[in-house]
């Protein structure tokens, strides 16, 4: 369990949660970004927090700094996204007046009462006319998620926020529930408990027909690309455009060509998936995920570089960053690849069904949490039980 090594200052009544967390950050003894194990320190945001369940105490969410400075959209949301910078103690005073606040679950020093009030505010229905507030900057909000498969608990007490335009990498041992978390966010599975709020809509309780409409704003890149093997590349990429738009075929052809050019696969329209290499299939899968009109706002990647050579891995990672920057999408990447982890704005590690660690790549690399350390550095020995691999053959 991680939290920043800080003094947990009690929340002053009437003060803004965002300001409190930044004050707490400024008062940390440890160097910024360095995470220490929670040890015996009690914390409202610690694992043993009362009925609210395990909420990982971690540094506040990093805002995206990859957004283009030439944000072309005149609307408020993209303007705010463009203005975001990585937080620093010097920004604390300036940030005080900003509307954006980090997740209540991850704000240190916040009392239970304030957290509940903020959560209640988030739960209010979005009538579309509400002024831009903290909710708009968090594209994905997960609260108290529990998912079981039969009797087996896969994920529990998951609380996570992903800000607009950021890239979250999710790592963990094989079978720990990373792909399941991604499918929950994509609405392909339903949680047993908890909320999954995507752009203000709680998809955990949404009926399937409405969920289909929500999913049109998302793109999903599957581990094996999941291309339709009876369609060629053009038909695969055009699939969503044909089913969800009334665009003429000429327009669809242009969009497909643009997306294939973006992923470096011009001229492959007539090929079948069986005729493509693994890397090419993944790129077609990515082109299919982003070939929507309007483009998706969230992209979910399930181990996009699995099974690829180092060069193709780097190509895919570059593409993910490029798509994030050009399309201003919020990206969530499930990965084991260190390159993908390092390019992320924040990294979450899942272990034993909970979020073991959450922070920037640098913070996780510098951590002394033995679980994270064992995973990142690839040690066979450690707190993560991998079975009796040292038994004699």
């Amino acid at each position: 369990m991680f939290k920043a090594n800080s003094n947990n200052e009690p929340a002053a009544s009437g003060s803004r949660p965002g300001a409190r967390s930044r004050d707490a950050a400024r008062s940390r003894d440890a160097a910024p970004g360095v995470l220490e194990p929670a040890g015996d320190q009690p914390s409202e945001t610690g694992r043993d927090a009362g009925p609210a369940g395990a909420k990982p105490a971690a540094p506040k969410t990093h805002k995206a700094n990859g957004a283009s400075e030439n944000g072309s959209s005149a609307d408020q949301s993209s303007k705010k996204a463009d203005e975001r910078k990585p937080p620093s103690p010097e920004d604390g005073a300036k940030d005080k007046d900003k509307d954006a606040v980090p997740s209540p679950a991850r704000i240190e020093g916040l009392t239970t009462k304030d957290r509940e009030a903020l959560d209640k505010k988030l739960d209010q229905p979005d009538d579309g006319n509400a002024p831009l507030d903290e909710r708009d900057l968090r594209m994905v909000i997960i609260r108290n998620l529990l998912f079981r498969r039969g009797e087996r608990v896969i994920l529990r007490d998951i609380n996570l926020d992903v800000s607009l335009g950021t890239l979250l990498a999710v790592m963990g041992m094989s079978g720990c529930g990373k792909s399941t978390l991604l499918k929950l966010i994509g609405g392909l599975e339903k949680p047993n408990q908890g909320q999954i709020i995507i752009a203000g809509h709680n998809i955990a309780e949404m009926p399937e027909r409405e969920l289909d409409r929500q999913r049109q704003n998302m793109g999903f890149v599957f581990q094996g690309a999941a291309l339709f093997d009876y369609m060629n590349v053009y038909e695969n990429v055009a699939f969503g455009l044909r089913r969800h738009t009334a665009l003429p075929e000429k327009e669809i052809k242009k969009i497909v060509a643009d997306k294939l050019a973006l992923v470096g696969l011009e001229g492959t329209e007539t090929l079948l998936p069986a005729e493509l290499s693994g890397g090419m299939q993944k790129r077609v899968g990515l082109a299919r995920a982003i070939a929507a009109e309007p483009p998706p706002t969230i992209l979910l990647y399930d181990e996009p570089t699995a099974g690829l050579d180092p060069i193709m891995t780097a190509v895919i990672n570059d593409l993910i960053l490029r798509v994030r920057d050009e399309l201003k999408v919020t990206s969530i990447v499930v990965t084991h690849d260190m390159g993908s982890l390092m390019m992320a704005d924040q990294v979450a590690m899942i272990h034993n069904g909970i979020i073991e660690a959450l922070g920037s790549p640098g913070e996780l690399l510098a951590t002394s949490n033995p679980v994270v350390e064992q995973f990142i550095h690839g040690h066979a020995e450690g707190p993560i039980d991998v079975g009796n691999v040292s038994a004699e053959l």
């Binding site: 499918k183 994509g186 609405g187 392909l188 399937e208 027909r209 289909d212 409409r213 929500q214 999913r215 049109q216 998302m218 793109g219 999903f220 599957f222 581990q223 094996g224 999941a226 291309l227 339709f228 093997d229 699939f239 969503g240 044909r242 089913r243 969800h244 738009t245 009334a246 299919r288 979910l300």
Partner: protein, 287 residues
């Protein structure tokens, strides 16, 4: 004491040979299957209803409805390619066999001229054509449907369909169910003629004229024998396609899972065909 020892001995014996567990598992599997079929049937009907009603909503819905209609046509082609020739050959052969088996017996009673044509047609219209067409369609088309959908399931293509906001029931199941429901009766009608023609081949070898043969058919066979057979084929079409799609969508476990789902689909379809044949025969032609 001896009673207690005997009781303990009997318990051990029963513990080593479980009786209720496999029965319980079978009943559970049956209930799960029935529940799945009902759910899929209702989802299919609902999807068809929405496909038609949503046309008025806009250009996108009209385009999707057109695409779905073209997919139905494509699936009808698949069914006909897969089952047409086999159904013709099978039912023609069965017509010949019925004629061969009965002609000598009828001759012994001097009734071959009067009843051979009618007998072949009666058996063909009511039983052979719908049942054999359905069995043939199961072996060739339904197994292929299950294999295709199952392989899509294990390779996450169905998840990809859902992830793009498309209902897999509407995209995969409805075209197949509609196509089978239309084509099985059509094939059964074609098979009716082929079965009767096959019977005539044998009849002609016994010097029975075609006019005699066809008069026999008109005298023996009623319209409800023909329509009853079509109704059977219609019901078989619905159940075969739903079963094939359900088994495919519930498969798991990679290539082995695909194989298992395909076998399970064929076996279940054939059992359902004969089960519903019995029920429908009793219902359509009560004695």
């Amino acid at each position: 004491m001896s009673t207690a020892a005997g009781y303990i001995t009997r318990q051990k014996r029963f513990r080593g040979v479980p009786v209720l567990t496999p029965i319980g598992r079978l009943v559970t599997a049956l209930l799960v299957f029935i529940g799945g079929m009902v759910e899929l049937f209702l989802a299919t009907v609902s999807g068809i209803f929405h496909s038609i009603v949503d046309i008025r909503l806009g250009a996108v819905e009209r385009r999707v409805a057109l695409m779905d209609f073209l997919e139905v046509v494509r699936q009808m082609q698949v069914v006909s390619w897969g089952a047409f020739w086999i159904a013709i050959i099978t039912v023609s052969s069965s017509g010949m066999v019925i004629a061969m088996e009965t002609v000598q017996q009828l001759k012994n009673f001097g009734m071959a001229q009067a009843f051979l044509g009618g007998g072949v047609a009666y058996a063909t219209f009511r039983e052979m054509a719908p049942v054999l067409t359905a069995v043939v369609a199961t072996a060739s088309v339904a197994s292929s449907m299950t294999a295709q959908i199952a392989s899509m399931k294990v390779t996450e293509q169905i998840d990809a369909i859902r992830a793009m906001g498309v209902d897999p029931i509407r995209y995969l199941v409805i075209p197949r169910v509609v196509a089978m429901t239309i084509m099985i009766p059509v094939l059964a009608v074609v098979a009716d003629y082929c079965g009767v023609a096959g019977g005539f081949v044998i009849a002609s070898s016994h010097q029975i004229a075609i006019s005699t043969y066809t008069n026999s058919i008109y005298q023996v066979v009623a319209l409800q024998d023909f329509t009853g057979g079509i109704i059977k084929a219609f019901v078989f079409g619905i159940f075969i396609s739903l079963t094939a799609c359900l088994r495919g969508m519930r498969s798991s476990g990679g290539a082995a899972g695909v194989g298992k789902a395909t076998i399970s689909s064929v076996v279940t379809c054939i059992i359902l065909i004969y089960l519903f044949d019995t029920i429908l025969t009793a219902a359509l032609w009560p004695s």
